[in-house]
Amino acid sequence: MKMMMGIEVHCQLSSKSKLFCSCSTDTKDKNPNENTCPICLGFPGSKPKVNKAVIDYGIMVAKALNCKVAEKMYFSRKSYFYPDMSKNFQITQYEIPLAVNGFLEIDGEKIRIKRIHIEEDPAKLVHKGGDITTASYVLIDYNRAGMPLLEIVTEPDFTTPKQVRLFLEKLSSILEHLGVYEAEREASLRVDANISLEGGERIEIKNITGFADVEKALNYEIVRQRGLLRMNMKVERETRHFDADRRVTKSLRKKEYEEDYGYIFDPDLAEVEISKEWLNRIAAKMPELPDQRVQRFVKQYGIDEYQAKVIVYTDKNLADFFEKCCERYKNAEKAAKWIITYLLKSLNWHSISIKQSKVNVDSFIEFLELMDSNTITERYAKELIKEYVDTGISPKELIKGKVKSLSEKDLKDIILKVLEENQKAVQEYLQGKEKSIEFLIGQVLVKTKKQADPKIIRKILLSCIEK
């Protein structure tokens, strides 16, 4: 069944002050409505004033997404009544946005970017006693009102929900590399996804916050819409909401007609001219972007492209972490392998990023070196890393008292004991049943509490049997 998917991404930019006033954007540890002023509260007589730093950020993103930046841009008023709006219109861009016609490549496929525009974030609504559909009352926190948002709109070029997730991961990495966004901030990236299946109308799912949730919501919609269409039922145009706990989408409102926002140019804001000089100034300070970094990782560290992509696209901090490790730890391939396969797995298990975790470069190198010196086995290391991520305690500390170095003689004694207890398996092996040796190795591992290297066990085991 043919389907079309596109997304609108709202990214909160990390400028120091809000888009149209000098209120701080740092709401951490702030009381509700503390970061407010007459401008972001929309008091009568107050006027917005553009924060040029936000436009700088916007231009950087536009360039990274291969877009054409407008020579002159304008702000418009998008009118609708909603309790999170301090003025009941949102200052956004309509006719002439910051940038248009770009693309981002996901595994060789181009996803076209239709437009990028700057707008103000509305206030945060806190639904009390339920979710958006069931709450008994709502509180409004204007700390978020007037935060700078960048809206990135794609064409409906996605072919799978997974591709949408990959796009978001790469986009987020780009934003982080540009230093224009803080992934850790609450709801700093919000997605509206739209999807239509052949034979049905377009469904929009509003305000999804996690990348994995976007994928889940779209997968859910495919199943739901397919079901309806197979039963010859209509898929009608509507806006839905993703319930992350129950992993389903729920109808928010039917769209009987195209919403009419009565756009006019914002007459309080003069046009913004983006000169060649301005663009050049931004171009000169563009940092290394994820794609360039992946290529450099392959060249500089000799890891393969797949590994480099996972490290770089997952999270800029993870890529920084990898590079810092490689400064002192020379086996880059091993570092990459352990980061991707085991460290990332443990982080994901806890749903935290490397920055939020207690993992640091020093202790991680220590961990790798414990393996290199045969102090711990790889097998034990896989267990140890979970505890390490959990607690942040240095691996050296963690293994204290647990790992006695097992002398070859001790190991041999254990092996002899195992052979004695498992005569049957020894006989089977001697009769040509190769697999029996694995069983014996396993028994030795149990007795040594996994502290011996299976390769060494095998060596001793074989020599003992032959004797």
């Binding site: 007459p38 009568p44 007589g45 107050s46 009118s79 219109f89 756009y263 006019i264 309080d268 804001l269």
Partner: protein, 462 residues
């Protein structure tokens, strides 16, 4: 107390007055005037000692749509009754810095929506020339107190489509609408932001020039404020007008304009000629498109500006009940007057998808053409002269019988220059049957100097 009547004398002798005595006698006078003519929504009775400055201790009234810290500012609307702004408008800050004393907030049509200052649920100002008649609007209170005050005083007013010119003409006072961007709009409760201008109503050209010098200048808080250095406009007072070229557009003397007023204005133009200026009759054919285009832009902007009044954060609010839509609808139904509701509906319509191109965007194009027409005229002329208003001050009973469209037509002489954002001044031209009429002078963007020269040259002549 020394009896000082003019602002010029007052500021020159400001050091010799006892402020407390002076201000309490001024407030007493204001209260007397209020009981007779009703120019105020709020009279300010709390006064700290003013700063030393260019207008030390000078009484200044401020139109109610301009925010004054700790002093109620309603813009003439019940939806803002009791609203005490937490900040001063930039122009008010500047006035206070120069020692000006805010004596009160003057009446106006709700949000500036009107030509006669009758569209308001607060007091309606009565014309000191005849209390049966309107003071003009929307800055009616500013004109009224200026005409009625027998103490030194300057009024801060505001014009979007003629709201300074109309009351100045109807009350026989001087009214300057500066170039758009000359005076910061920060702190002005918006009507139509792309056309709103804060200006001055006063008893002489000197007062106008003095106040303009104080309130004008670049303001980083207003993106549309012009990046120009502050200057002293009083230096243009009494400057020679020899060689000044005056354009007299025939469209401004045509149908709908009282013949007696037209004749009086011609007399004033001849006076300017006798002082060394020359005049020529011209045509401004775009004039006829100004009113529809103006109203479309104005109501489009106004309808978005007024959306913020929903009873959640300030102004009129009620017991929370029902959902958000029901709540704000009930607050707005109660708080807005009829003309305001009319303009919100018109504006919302003009912005709707499907009509937007035909109305809003087309009106913007017409505005550009009107600006070009003025710009072209000012290549050959220094000023344009015309009547300020097509009629003499109307009786309240006559205004009641005007249909909305007839009402809007009263703005025919002021709309085009207001849309173009050019500066203009209404100069008292004399009385007709005991009622005042105004001469309207307009100049190119940022050429207020020409207006001050021409206006002051007529002073003292009869």
């Amino acid at each position: 107390m020394i009896e000082i009547k003019t602002v010029k004398e007052f500021v020159e002798n400001a050091d010799s007055i006892d402020f407390d005595d002076f201000i309490s006698s001024v407030i007493e006078k204001c209260e007397k005037i209020q009981s007779k003519y009703q120019p105020f929504i709020t009279i300010n009775k709390n006064h700290a000692k003013p700063k030393k400055g260019l207008i030390h201790a000078l009484p200044v009234s401020v139109k109610d749509c301009i925010c004054t810290k700790d002093l109620q500012s309603t813009a003439g609307s019940k939806i803002l009754e009791g609203y005490i702004p937490p900040f001063d408008a930039t122009c008010v800050t500047k006035i206070k810095q120069q020692g000006g004393v805010i004596i009160g907030k003057t009446t106006q049509d709700e949000f500036g929506f009107g030509t006669f200052n009758v569209n308001s649920k607060y007091a309606i100002p009565k014309n000191p020339f005849d209390v049966e008649r309107s003071c003009g609007g929307s800055s009616g209170g500013a004109g009224c107190i200026t005409a009625a005050a027998d103490f030194p005083h300057i009024a801060i007013a505001e014009s979007t489509g003629g709201s300074i010119t109309a009351p100045a003409a109807f009350t026989g006072t001087y009214g300057l609408t500066p170039t758009y961007g000359r005076v910061s709009r920060y702190g002005l409760i918006d009507y139509a932001n792309s056309m709103d201008k804060i200006g001055v109503i006063a008893k002489s050209t000197y007062d106008i020039a003095l106040m303009l010098s104080i309130i004008s200048g670049y303001d980083p808080l207003d993106s549309t404020s012009a990046d120009l250095a502050e200057q002293d406009f009083t230096k243009f007072i009494g400057k020679d007008i020899k060689g000044m070229k005056i354009a007299v557009p025939k469209e401004y003397f045509g149908e709908g304009v009282d013949k007696k007023i037209a004749d009086l204005i011609w007399e004033k133009i001849k006076q300017l000629e006798s002082l060394g200026a020359s005049y020529e009759e011209i045509s401004l054919p775009m004039t006829k498109y100004a009113i529809p285009a103006y109203y479309i832009i104005a109501v489009s902007e106004a309808s978005t500006n007024l959306a913020k009044f929903c009873g959640l954060r300030y102004g009129l609010h009620k017991q929370l009940s029902g959902n958000f839509d029901e709540y704000f609808a009930s607050v707005r139904s109660q708080g807005f007057g009829e003309e305001t509701k009319r303009r919100i509906i018109l504006g919302t319509y003009a912005r709707m998808a499907g009509f937007r191109d035909a109305y809003y965007l087309k009106a913007l194009k017409i505005r550009t053409l009107i600006i070009q027409e003025f710009k072209k005229t000012f290549k050959s002329f220094d000023i344009i002269a015309a009547p300020s208003m097509p009629v003499l001050p109307l009786k309240f009973s006559e205004i009641e019988n005007l249909k909305p469209i007839e009402n809007y037509m009263m703005d025919i002489l002021t709309i085009a220059p207001n849309m173009a954002g050019i500066p203009m001044i209404s100069v008292p031209a004399g009385l007709i049957n005991g009622l005042p009429a105004g001469l309207h002078l307009m100049a190119d963007h940022f050429n207020e100097a020409a207006l001050i020269k021409a206006s002051s040259s007529l002073e003292g002549l009869e």
